[in-house]
């Protein structure tokens, strides 16, 4: 029913731009901190001032944000070792260090070389280290990789500092779908539109984003390739099309369609095609999320009168209710190990991030703010990314799973919303 001229006008308002750096990057502000953090000394790497943005500030912010580390202030000890042999262990241990990361940087012929060592302070033993050589323009990536190595050596878990996030930046009447590093730097705009964009969802291999765009004056689901910006409408049925979620093998999307008169969950092939209905209720079924092992789908349903989280087999069929406390539990997102999920609960007018553990059936609050939305787990299950509000603007936060370390990814000049944490890079 679209007037052809209007459609052309709106199409011309939607520009696809790949790999253009956005003007507004996100900087980090960390709030809170937990006990039992590993105390790390991180003196400046020798010659790192020759690199734009440095190396250790990025490592410092990554490790602090994880909640697992307390990184000593740069001037904690009046010494600047860059190799293990230069370390004055008693001085650093006196400042509380449990380990030290020391390193040096050299730049030659457009290539950056970073050599670092992580030393246990008590045993004076090397825990990890190496030399990374990258193009100078990839200096941030090298810093994130070192942070990942330190994180893994100390905690035994894989770090997420080399991952990406997707989100929507709204400025005035314009919307931009952006992808950035997990610390908010390096934002690239995938899509600009005069109409809303919501619900970005990462493919399991990180190569594509599905999202909902209103550019044709109604919600339509697109799949967008990050490498070349190519995109395709994969669900544009009569009525509304929304809430895309990737199956674990990346071959199908669960989507919400309204073509049978109420919002229900269907599966469509990723390339588009026939939609197969999965959910069966007379109410609203929405916000599907596939389990990491592909066996089930969590979703939001108000079939019992108020929105709650339900689970059904990935092939559809009878659903079982999962949340029983309160009268508004929505936006489920599986943890990567499938043993819990994060969601939003409205209680007393406040919308907060929760985590539900399948084994105990218990749900715990992770935030104590009031306008939280759209939570998603980091691929190591240790942190949750979500949207909130500060000073009337939409902002993004990461929070550790125990709720103790909260980090605001600050941005300038717009509202940031609808975040989604991407997978490990391949």
């Amino acid at each position: 029913m679209l007037h052809r001229l209007s459609h052309a006008v709106f199409s011309s308002l939607v520009l696809m731009l790949a790999c253009l750096p956005a003007r507004a990057d996100m900087t980090i502000e960390i709030v809170g901190g937990g006990a039992n953090r590993h105390v790390l000394a991180l003196p400046a790497f020798a010659a790192e001032a020759s690199v734009n943005g440095g190396i250790t500030p990025i490592i410092r912010s990554d490790l602090s944000r994880s909640g697992a580390f307390k990184v000593l202030e740069p001037g904690a000890v009046a010494q600047a070792p860059s190799t293990p042999g230069e370390i004055d262990y008693p001085a650093w241990q006196g400042a509380g260090a449990m380990s030290l990361a020391v390193g040096r940087v050299s730049v030659a012929g457009g290539q950056l070389s970073v050599e670092f060592n992580l030393m246990d302070a008590a045993q004076r033993k090397r825990l990890t280290g190496g030399t990374l050589t990258v193009p100078v323009s990839d200096s941030r990536a090298a810093a994130h990789q070192i942070a990942d190595m330190i994180y893994q050596a100390i905690t035994g878990e894989r770090g997420v500092f080399s991952t990406q996030i997707a989100y929507v930046l709204k400025a005035g009447r314009n919307y931009q779908l952006q992808v950035a590093d997990a610390d908010g730097a390096g934002a690239q705009t995938l899509l600009r539109s005069a109409e809303p964009i919501i619900s970005p969802s990462w493919s399991p291999d990180g190569s594509r984003l599905a999202y909902v765009s209103f550019e044709s004056k109604k919600p339509v689901v697109y799949v967008h390739s990050l490498a070349n910006g190519a995109r395709q409408a994969v669900a544009a049925f009569k009525g509304s099309n929304s809430a895309p979620a990737w199956s674990a093998d990346g071959s199908r999307l669960a989507v919400v369609l309204t073509r049978d008169g109420n919002s229900q969950i269907y599966a469509v092939p990723v390339g588009g095609g026939e939609a197969v209905r999965l959910s069966q209720s007379q109410g609203i079924d929405t916000e599907p999320d596939y389990a990491p092992d592909g066996s089930r789908i969590l979703f939001t349903s108000d079939r019992a009168g108020s929105p709650q989280v339900y689970s059904m087999p990935a092939s559809g069929g009878s659903a079982s209710r999962v949340t029983f406390e309160g009268n508004y539990n929505v936006s489920p997102n599986f943890a990567p190990d499938g043993k819990s999920f994060t969601f939003i609960r409205r209680e007393g007018g406040r919308y907060r991030v929760m985590v539900h553990d399948f084994a105990t059936g218990q749900a715990n609050a992770v935030t104590d703010t009031a306008h939280d939305e759209s939570p998603s787990f980091a691929p190591n299950g240790k942190m949750i990314l979500y949207a909130s509000e500060q000073g009337g603007r939409g902002v993004l936060y990461t929070v550790t799973r125990d709720g103790l370390t909260k980090t605001r990814l600050a941005t300038l000049g717009g509202d940031v919303q609808e975040p989604a944490w991407g997978p490990y890079p391949r």
Partner: protein, 205 residues
Amino acid sequence: MKASQLVLSLLLAATLAACSSTSPTNTAGNGANGANGANGLNGANGENDPSAAGYVRNGVGVNGVNGANGANGATGADGSGAYSNSALKDPRNILSKRSVYFDFDSATVKGEYKPLVEAHSTFLKKNPQRKAQIQGNTDVLGSREYNLALGQRRAESVKNMMRVLGVPEGQLEAVSYGKEKPKATGTSDADNAQNRRADVAYDGE
């Protein structure tokens, strides 16, 4: 020229003047109805002679024929004006009212909006080439996707009422903007009430 013929001419001229002031407004979109206006003049032929028995002032008689123009709505737009394409934008016409407002947590169309829904339904039935998109909205609190579905429920509610009133499926589409395009950006009760809304939008708007 005989005097009676002169009087006849004068009265015919006066009648034409009177008729033209009461004929339906024809807009560009109703071009075909311009011809229908001429039909009204045909009605004058029988009753211009004031001495004839049963004389009725022609303006009134001709208006009766103008009523027949309504039947010509089948050719395009309704000649009477009340359900013409221009009525959609006429502030004096209920068709220019496009919004149905809902109570909190509700998708039920309240009685006070039934005349509005009925008017749009009648318009669509009289104008089978036109299409309407019912756009559902919610207030700005809560999950975007759940709100998209709540907005959809409101749009479906209005659409269902129009279907029951006889509007064909092919002329209707229910979609939702959820909380993405609020009329009022705050969260006061007044703001929320403004945003719990379904709007009727026509093709080309």
